[in-house]
Structures are given as C-alpha cells and as structure tokens.
Subunit: 248 residues, 2 copies
C-alpha cells in the first residue's frame, strides 16, 4: 500500500510560464502543492484541522525528475499520494502527465509537522495520516545527497526580500528560492539549457527585508552539466540545491 | 450595444494571494487577462489569428475600482467585454464578482494593436473586432488623468530585472510593475492599508538586466490617502500610476 492517490486536471495559464512558454519551477511546485491541499481538504484533514491542532506542514526536501516541462495552455493531469511516513517524516509523491499520458514530471518530497506554538518539528500525528492510507515505516527513505557548493568557485547575486515574497505564514514562500537560484545563472545559460532534475533541501526560514545571497557553481558530474546552489542570509543557509541540465 | 460578454468561474489559489490571503494586484490582472484570452479563443480571434497577421495586443492603461479583493479559495466569477473601439483604441471592461454576486472589482482598460514587424501601433483591424460586437465610436473614452509624481518628494527603490520577469514577448510582463510599485512602500503601510482604486498608464517596455527605479510619493487627495508612482529606467518612463488606499 503506497497511499491513496488523488488526481486533478490542470491547464497551464500563460502567467505561470517563462520566456519560452514553459511552466516555471516555482509554478510547478505551486500547482503540485495546490493539488495536495485539495486532497487534504477532500479527506477532511485540511488546513482547518491542522489549525485546530496548532500544526502546519513544512516541506524539507524535493527531488524532481523533469522529462519535459508542460507548455502554456497544455492540459495536464496531476497525481499525488502520501506514500509513507515514519516518526517524523512524511514522504509524498507527485506526478504530472501530459494529455497523451506521458510522465512529464515526477517529484518525491519530505514533509514534517511543525507546531505553531514552539515553531519546531513535532512527531507525525497518526490521526492526520490515517485517511491517506500511507504506509507507516520504521526507517528513512533515502534522497540523493546534495553536495556542498564550493564558495570559492561560486558566483553570487543578492536579492532583497520583497513584500510579495512573503506568504500567509509571514515568511518567504519557498518557491521564491527557485527564482533566486536560477536567476543567479547567466541569461544565455538559461536560454540554452533546460532542467532535467532538481534536488533541493530547505533550512532556515527567511523574513521580509532580509538580503539573501544566491550562490551558484557550475560543475560537470558524470558528463552532466550540473549547478550547485545555496541561498543564504549571511551565515544561515536557507536552501541548498543541485540541478542537472541538458542542452536544448 | 456594449460588446458580447464572456463569463468564467475561477477559484483563487493560495499562491496568487499575499501575506493577508488576498489576491494580489498582479494576479488580479493575470486572471482577468486570462479570461479575455479565453474569449478571444472562443471567438476564433485568439493568438493564432493575431500571429498570422503579425499583430499583438498591448495594454496602455487600466482604471480599477476595488471594493474588496477576493480571498484565498474564494470562488469568483469573471466577466469581460470589448465595450467599444475607435481608430486606434479598444476599450475592454472586466468585472470580478464573489459567490454572492457582489462586485469586488471593476476594471476599465485601453488596448492597442501593435505590429510585430514595426514594433509600433497600427489602426485597429475591424475584422478582429467584429466577433466581439463592440461599438465602433468616433471619440475617445476619458480616463482620469494621472498626476505626475513630485520626484523631489518621492522615495525610491531599485529593482534589477530578473529572468523570470520576462515573458514570451521578450520583455518585462507589465504585472511586475505592480510589485515594484507597491514594494517601494513601507511594510507597515502595506499591512495597514488596502487598495481601493488604481489608475495606471504604461510607457516604454523594459528589458532583461535593466535596473528600474520605482519612485513613490504619498499625498492626501480630497482626504483620500493616495500614492503616486513612477517606474522608470533612467530617463524613460515605463509606467505611471495613482493608487487610492483606505485604512483596514
């Protein structure tokens, strides 16, 4: 048993696409998370329930495989399931298929439950998990390790956190990290390449008005063009990522 | 006759809302324009037709009245009509209603047709307008004048144009101007006030990598808290706006 699946159709609007008319990474995560929220609501363990327990969901890691990003106006099908969980970590999968049924994107993720009272992680509440029919597991699911950036070789751009970067949780919504990470790359590189995989791990939260440093290093890993990223506020790491690319 | 009306339902996703869970100005314009694109497609005068004529639509002005911004998860109804047109200008209206039928937002707009070949305005093509059943008029529809900002009294923030600010037309999508205009205001001001009207006029386009200056001045106009805005790239004005606010 690997979790009850939830499916919804979605049509990619122009404003969620980039200069090439392809869904952006930030919007990809937005629409996947929206689908998972709809599943939570359907199963009556949505935000209301979480609020009544003073709990919130926080993502700690995404591992994405991107065969191709859907294009503007494309009709896609999003599927998600809360695959399994242990004492602290919940593993949720997402798929995005095109109209012909091809898998465009596959995302594995790790979520934790956070107490709004203590602002720290709490053990997973089994009652919340029950309706998902997720598998209770003992061990941890392995995600690929994200190698540290070599700051000596990295280039950097700075971003001041703006009012519209802040979401209802009063901190920077983590999809903005993708924009800072990718924008730190050269325009020509972004035009000539497309993302084939992303592995991102989140750390400290970021607040309004802070200055963030988005560092990036380009390396070849087994003949694959790879970029390593770190978004930091001074000494605090907010997110680290490894992104694989292919030439267009 | 004031143009054939097109209606669609829309549900506000969390990622189109701000720290207060209300639809942002940028997302408001995104979803209204999306509805108008759907009307164009329905009437077979969509992007394909425009491309075959080497023409594109460019907005030059919005005049918005905002009774209240819809909140996250709210179901709304969007209505749009191409009200009328003269030799060069097309006047399109948009309404956004809540589920109870209250008018949340009313937007009047001016669009022109641009030739991709010459990058300049061309007379409106009547064949394109015919299916909208818009009124052909002789004169111009009056929009309120936007008073010039007093640069001496204005404060300013700078924004470097990012990769994801650029849309399929290879320039900055004009909804980003709202983010730059509002972000130039203080956090406390934004938290304590809400927008009741916006009048914005677009000028020069902005390109990737340029630095924009977002200037803002706060004034009282007939006892109404008003902000005047200018987004410029050095000497070129990209947009000017006047926004009215009320205390929350």
């Amino acid at each position: 048993m690997a979790g009850k699946q939830y499916t919804e159709e979605y049509r990619i609007p122009y404003f969620e696409t980039d200069i090439k008319g392809e869904l952006t990474l930030a919007s990809l995560v937005n629409v996947l998370i929206l689908a998972s929220e709809h599943q939570l609501n359907d199963l009556n363990v949505g935000e209301e329930t979480m609020h009544s327990l003073n709990l919130g969901w926080v993502v700690t890691q995404y591992q994405m495989t991107i065969n191709r990003m859907p294009k503007v106006d494309e009709k896609v099908r999003i599927v998600t399931e809360a695959e399994s969980y242990n004492r602290y970590f919940c593993y949720r999968n997402f798929w995005l298929y095109d109209e012909a049924g091809n898998e465009c994107v596959f995302v594995q993720s790790i979520f934790v439950m956070m107490s709004y009272e203590t602002r720290s992680m709490v053990p997973v509440v089994p009652e919340i998990m029950a309706p998902f029919e997720s598998m209770a597991i003992k061990g941890s699911k392995r995600f690929p390790r994200i190698k540290k950036i070599d700051s000596e070789k990295a280039s950097q751009k700075e971003y001041r956190v703006r009012y519209f970067d802040i979401d209802g949780n009063q901190h920077v919504n983590n999809v903005h990290y993708f924009e800072w990470m990718l924008d730190a790359l050269d325009y020509d590189f972004l035009m000539d390449h497309r993302v084939t995989s992303v592995n991102i791990r989140y750390g400290h939260e970021i607040q309004y008005g802070q200055m963030t440093q988005s560092q990036v290093e380009q390396v070849m890993v087994d003949d694959i063009m790879t970029t390593r990223h770190k978004v930091a506020v001074d000494d605090l790491s907010a997110a680290e990522a490894e992104i694989a690319w292919t030439k267009r």
